[in-house]
Symmetry: C2
């Protein structure tokens, strides 16, 4: 990069392209765009932050940066947990939050067309007015943007029944590295014309282009959920219950697990007992959104399974407020852990039969590093978020937290899992990605990147390096 | 290609790699591997047909052909409808039917690991023994292979509820153009480590590599289905019923439509009245596999909607034999049309609100070309198969059939649809793909192809040309 030479000219060009109000270079403001929510990820100070309002403005930014050899880091709200949106020194951070229009909701074809800056919750609320449902619900759903969700292939609590973001995407508009606009996919439910470029861009973490529009598939709004909570004396018993539910062919709409550390933190934070009694080693929270007798049937079958697996308590409610309270407790885990220190959350996904092994392994790792590790996660699909708590003022604790973070990834791989179920690789798991996909996989990644972004303009060095 | 020079050496090498029983060069046998089920597609005589048994043998074939500059056309059972597996003159056809082992069924993690030559129905039957379900069910499910299903991203009758093949794939093993083995994806339900190469290879129609293994996601076996049949005086009324069902938020497990021409052909062929009475303009067949009260509720809601939309008959049955008979009638359409001549089936997918327009357009095209066009299709997802009947002995009728085929694609695109919902592009819709995806889309396709197959070894000229 030759920022000292190119920056005045580049900045003038960006400013002109963005109507003189879409470029930030104020040194007091830039730090707000330097990093996401992942404390481990490196970041630098950008040359500028740009906030385009249209696809044409994104094209202008891309062309200007390409000509000046200045890299672009695309960014949504910054809720990410892998540093994928973290700035590189001297880059331009391209923030899509001003492109926040819901362009269309088509109830008869059950789809929506959105800009990337729309907040997940805003789309959910808008389509609900039409009796429709947009499933992906990452924990940050009340402030994360759909553009970020698309770029990371975000998941959430819905995935056990409704899949991840890629399962709800019909098509994309993407600005490519040469500034051209690519439209992928279609508005129909099915379609196999050509390579599935839509799903190639979803989850590509801003390394292949800038998504400026998406056509999303919607589902009918599910029924009001019934909720079950079950407490267990051992994590193994809870894991056993999960396996039995899968084996019984039941697909709940939500199936979350919290270990003893997570339960204790939430109980202290919310000053409640979660109906589980002190000393529980694990809690399962399940929902059914099928409604009527079907929901009663599903939840009573799960309740029986939990009891058979040794639950000390299993309670089902169709009271919406009570159900919502349990979900609030589940969603409060990370905040609750802040009582003890800073948190560093991991994101392994293991075969569902291996949840018990993962929790046991995390207990061992916690003892080895001498730090709290709370396990919370999406038990229904094996996607677990062991969360390490450390004192941010202690370099030693931070180093031990980093070690635990790595040990958990290693454990996840050894259990036949993946290093990331929904958060992504970003700037913290590059070496782990290389390990998971191997040298041939890495070579193919590099070839695809070089084919679509030969100048390495977009998010260089994130996800993997060019070797 | 320099087949005259290279072929003896190449054939010797292939023969040695395939244990001397896996290479066919017999001029009487080769024609059986020259083409699939699509009469419009060009084909040539291959240099040889190879039938490897292992990934290592596929690697040996790929390396030998790459060194000799002889293209490879991968092929399954040959049930395709786009000519994607049709031989190119002088190529090696790589047939995967001998790699037909179901390597693993893991009921606790609801997945199966298979070789590409496994017949779709064989996997369905095998997993059913474990109470599990592999949804994709293309019409040829009793003889097509999973490798072909993966390469075309096949659909079927299940898609309205369970999606297409890509929605059931967790990971692949692929032999690349340089003979290296790439493993994509994972065994976990979720995972976002790196680009979604799995879904890039699914539907790539043999142009990027040879799939030699797949890890497939399974679902719990659904309940025995209830079946509804409804007859309408006009296709518009049936289309209206489909729109209303979608709008009501009902997701049947199957929702098929047949127009007057299809109904008449099947009634004549099966010597039955389909319970619809003579002269019906359209028939809807729906199923619910949710079981119990939920199925009764779904089907009675659909029955009410059909009546509101003007159905002349609407009949629901939970008798499995009666339901199966209706499905048999639906599946018999193409065979029934053979009474009148040869058939040429199209595969457009339109927004579900446009089904009526598509049927009306097909009636107009039928009148224009003076040939029978029967419309049958997956109404629940808008994927329609207008099927043109012509006299194979008449060059004039064949030319008119070709014209109707193209007019239907044009109509599908003008209705906001796609040129292929599930059959693929192959060697018959290359120009149409270019039109649907535009010059930028075509350029990206070429870049991806060049990145993964720089020597244009795999299925050259299929799907798109290199420009």
């Amino acid at each position: 990069m030759h920022a000292s030479v190119t920056s005045p000219e580049l900045l003038a060009r960006l400013s002109s392209a963005l109507d003189h109000d879409g470029v930030i270079t104020d040194a007091d403001v830039l730090p707000g765009y330097e990093r996401d929510m992942m404390p481990l990820a490196p970041y630098g100070t950008p040359l500028a932050v740009v906030l385009p309002r249209t696809t044409a403005q994104v094209q202008a930014v891309v062309r200007a940066c390409a000509e000046h050899g200045v890299p672009i880091v695309p960014r949504g709200a910054g809720s990410g947990l892998s540093g994928a949106a973290n700035a590189i020194a001297g880059c331009v951070v391209l923030v899509t939050t001003r492109m926040n229009a819901i362009l269309e909701i088509d109830p008869d074809n059950r789809l929506a067309v959105v800009e990337p800056g729309v907040i997940n919750l805003d789309l959910r609320a808008a389509v609900e007015q039409h009796g429709l449902f947009y499933p992906p619900d990452p924990s940050s759903y009340d402030w994360c943007t759909l553009g970020g969700n698309l770029s990371t292939n975000a998941g959430g609590l819905c995935c056990v029944k409704y899949g991840v973001t890629t399962d709800s995407v019909l098509g994309l508009r993407v600005v490519l590295a040469d500034g051209e606009v690519l439209d992928t996919g279609r508005r129909t439910v099915k379609g196999v014309a050509g390579y599935d470029l839509t799903k190639l861009f979803v989850g590509s973490e801003g390394t292949l282009g800038v998504i400026t529009r998406a056509t999303l598939a919607l589902r009918p709004l599910p029924q009001a959920p019934g909720t079950l909570v079950a407490a267990f004396d051992t994590a193994a018993a809870a894991g056993d219950a999960v396996t039995r539910v899968v084996r019984a062919g039941i697909i709940p709409s939500l199936m979350e697990i919290m270990d003893a550390t997570a339960i204790a933190a939430v109980e202290a934070h919310l000053k409640t007992e979660l109906g589980a009694g002190r000393g529980s080693a694990a809690l399962l929270i399940c929902q059914s959104d099928t409604g009527g007798d079907a929901a009663v049937g599903e939840l009573s079958a799960i309740e029986r399974i939990c009891q058979d697996a040794g639950a000390t308590l299993a309670h089902t409610t169709f009271d919406l407020a009570e159900g919502a309270l349990l979900l609030t407790a589940r969603r409060a885990v990370l905040t609750a852990l802040e009582t003890y220190g800073a948190w560093l959350t991991d994101d392994v996904c293991v075969p569902r039969t291996k949840i018990t092994d993962l929790i046991a392994g995390c207990e061992r790792i916690s003892a080895e590093v001498g730090l709290r590790v709370a396990v919370v996660g999406h038990a229904g699909d094996g996607n677990m978020h062991p969360t390490i708590v450390y004192d941010p003022a202690s370099a030693d604790e931070f180093a031990r937290a980093e070690r635990a973070f790595a040990d958990i990834l290693d454990l996840g791989l050894r259990l036949g899992g993946t290093i990331t179920g929904e958060h992504g690789v970003g700037k913290i798991k590059r070496e782990w990605l290389a390990r998971e996909i191997g040298p041939v996989g890495l070579r193919v990644h590099r070839a695809v990147k070089a084919a679509l972004d030969p100048g390495n303009l977009f998010n260089p060095g994130s996800m993997f390096d060019l070797g």
